[in-house]
Symmetry: C2
DNA sequence: GTCTGTTTTTAACAAAATGTTAAAAAGAGT
DNA sequence: ACTCTTTTTAACATTTTGTTAAAAACAGAC
């Protein structure tokens, strides 16, 4: 028989917080950036690369594997603060754009114990990066190949290269929405391959209907630079006039120019806040 | 000094799962539907209503308040299974469309203890509802008024009516993305007002670029019925020819007709699966 | 200084998508 | 057969987007 309470305060005073079985919550952060890479191997031209930040695990499980920066949520910490703290500690990055991506909670996603993982999407302008990365962190260039319902993602840098493949699970009316099932992954820790697949998909979609891209840009930029960021993320070329029209209402001329390229100088633009509703 | 392990298996065998402070995770489900309401009070015409399902809390905290159906995640349960179980138990609804909405984790969102809440969005065709709702559950019609950066949401049915107001927090470059801060809410439990605000926003946006709406429709439907569902959710009228063109590639004629209305019969359509990539 | 190469920038037109008005189509009741 | 009603589509206007190509402007070479 449950005790009867007369009011809210009396109930809370008596509340036994241990009656439910508890669990742990972690946060992984998917830090994306686009920056001038080293010379393109084929065309010998400087090219922009879409890249993700990984860190090398120092402890078991998955010791010495590359993984997303992440850590446990503290019980006295707002969930949206955890990724900021973790990112500062694991990679030395501060004050960057963060938005919640998805909460992953398969029963066996962590071999140790039941852990729920709320992943965050972070964007940064790598060229303007003041802070120095910790030595355990490294940028990997992201490439994706779609073939039918399979998506193969390749992560690479000067030293290493590895891939994983996801199957797109088609939503059937009345069942779950689109999701991705990893069918081959020999390198990353936990469910990181799935997190990365979901994150890339989300970023590509949000490029189309939000101003999220400006979190990856310096304050002043040329339209060509902005276009190259789009092209690097989407993995395809865009036509100049169409891109300019599309982006025009989100930017404003600063009046300044970028000169010295041996050709007509480019006007510098800045993000222009526009109406949301 | 940390003990050194030679391999993954040895580490896991020795792993002390209690070293991190744990917490609880709940799931709230935002069930939306559009159905023929009772007569419209002003125009005396049958109208479609956009509505959300609430249940009355039977225990403290927030005893006797209306709230979203929800419950605790079990430690041996996939996070995406929890809302299905909870919905079956609290409202007697089975087999309905569910997608993860957002994970809410402010430190004091539950007055009892630290609880993280992963909210789900659920859609259902209320007219075709076979199962009978439990008596503690009730549908509330949703209306929203936007004025500047304030959004006032009103929930009502034949017996009750209450409102809450959210402030749209403008994203500043380098800071959080758009979010909503509840500035007035005298009725709902926990952070339910915020969950509902986020959910309505998400549903309205997804209407534009997904086929999510067909989860709220019967197998066969007329284009006018489909249009009325859009109108109810968006809260505004749409022009017929424009709507038909927009939706045409997502539907296919069944060949059947809906007759008996004293006017030209409507063709019945069905959802047509189309390419995602 | 003028010419050439290069890339930015915009003009100009084509094609597609969307907004809008209004007319045709087809059942049910009079 | 005529009228009422709502569905359906035709027709046109407007806007947006795709595409090609030309003009603009700087740096370096001669």
């Amino acid at each position: 028989m449950t005790k009867q309470y007369r009011n809210e305060a009396e109930f809370l005073k008596d509340y036994d917080a241990s009656q439910y079985e508890k669990l742990s919550l972690t946060t992984d952060i998917l830090v994306f950036s686009v920056a001038k890479g080293t010379m393109d191997n084929y065309r010998k031209l400087p090219d922009k690369h879409f890249s993700v930040l990984l860190v090398k695990r120092k402890t078991y499980p998955f010791k010495d594997r590359w993984c997303l920066p992440g850590g446990f949520l503290r019980v006295d910490e707002d969930i949206n603060e955890a990724p900021k703290r973790v990112l500062a500690k694991e990679t030395n990055l501060h004050n960057i754009y963060l938005e919640q991506l998805y909460t992953f909670g398969a029963v066996n996603r962590d071999p140790r114990l039941r852990v729920i993982n709320t992943a965050y999407l972070a964007l940064i302008d790598k060229d303007r990066l003041q802070e120095k990365l910790l030595s355990e962190a490294a940028w990997f260039t992201v490439r994706q190949v779609h073939s039918g319902s399979l998506i193969t993602t390749t992560l690479s840098n000067e030293q290493e290269c590895f891939s994983f493949t996801a199957q797109v699970i088609d939503p059937t009316l009345g069942n779950e929405p689109v999701h991705f099932q990893i069918i081959s992954d020999d390198h990353l820790a936990f469910d990181n391959a799935e997190v990365i697949t979901v994150g890339i998909d989300r970023l590509r979609n949000k490029l189309k209907y939000t101003s999220i891209v400006f979190n990856m840009m310096p304050a002043d930029f040329t339209l060509k630079e902005l276009q190259q960021v789009y092209e690097a993320i989407l993995g395809k070329k865009l036509l100049d006039p169409a891109f300019r029209r599309m982006i025009s209402e989100q930017v404003v001329k600063t009046g300044k120019q970028k000169t010295g390229g041996g050709h007509r100088p480019s006007a510098l633009y800045r993000y222009k806040k526009h109406e949301l509703f």
